[in-house]
């Protein structure tokens, strides 16, 4: 059961908000945010997913000296059948006990949930895997609970 330490920083929140095209000052302007209802900068609702940055073994980040399945000289840096991404994202659910703020140091405990199968005409056999992540703050209080479902397909989806 891996636990990751996720220090929440204002710059990271600003960059994340830019990436989702959200110009709301509550994500980048400390003075404007302080004058509003939240009393300071908070993170956008999908920001907890950026815990991937703090997983030292996260498989979807290239690492120096290790083969990467994306393209370089060849269409994949791994010969033969390259490793796949481990599935597509099927569902994501967040429960907010409060919204993370810069200065929070979250401990994120991730555990597997249920697994199930389904047949699909579009993509063949589908295997669904659930994952639960609990984000606790420096006082041990629950901040966010996240439940994700990933699906592995037999054939590419939307390959038309």
């Amino acid at each position: 059961m891996p636990t990751h330490i996720f220090p929440v920083e204002a710059t990271h929140i600003m960059m994340f908000a830019r990436a989702i095209g959200d110009t709301n000052p509550v994500y980048h302007d400390a003075a404007a945010a302080a004058a509003g209802e939240t009393g300071g900068i908070i993170a956008p609702p999908t920001f907890p997913q950026a815990v991937a940055q703090f997983d030292p073994d996260y498989p979807l980040r290239p690492k120096p000296g290790q083969p990467w399945f994306g393209s370089g000289k060849a269409a994949s840096g791994i010969e033969g059948n390259p490793a796949t991404s481990g599935g597509l994202h099927a569902e994501q659910h967040f429960e907010y006990h409060r919204h993370p703020r810069p200065g929070d140091v979250l401990s994120v405990e991730i555990r597997p949930g249920k697994t199930w199968e389904k047949d699909s005409r579009r993509a063949g056999k589908l295997i669904f895997r659930e994952r639960i992540a609990e984000y606790r703050d420096q006082r041990g209080e629950l901040v966010v609970t996240a439940r994700s479902v990933a699906v592995t397909t037999e054939r590419p989806v939307g390959a038309d």
Partner: protein
Amino acid sequence: MALKAGNLAVGDTHRARVVENLTRTQLVQYAGASGDYNPLHTDEVYTTQKAGYRSVFAHGMLTMGLTGKMLTDYVGDGRLTRFGVRFTNQVWPGDTLDATATVAALRQEGGQHFVDLALSTVNQDGVEVISGSATARIDP
């Protein structure tokens, strides 16, 4: 500005365009911010030649993030207590997305008012790419 229970009715909707002509660069920007560098979202060569897709496509979480922008603009900052989605179709470069929240229920719990919302995000062809729900704290 937070929502007020007294001004809302079941069936009310709020709709916003959350991205127009999505670019591959925005997928790369999202990869950098989120930490998910999956070549399916960042590497056209790998995705078309090795993985068998017609193009790179958006992270589901980018589409959820774009949908979340509509949602927080509607319910106010720091008001969400729950936000969940199913990714029902892929989002491709060039897509334009409109996100809608529909009031499904208004309720009180421990003296606090909440709104339950049904969410739907569709592309320029009217195909739903996200279906979901959310709950937010609202003012009386």
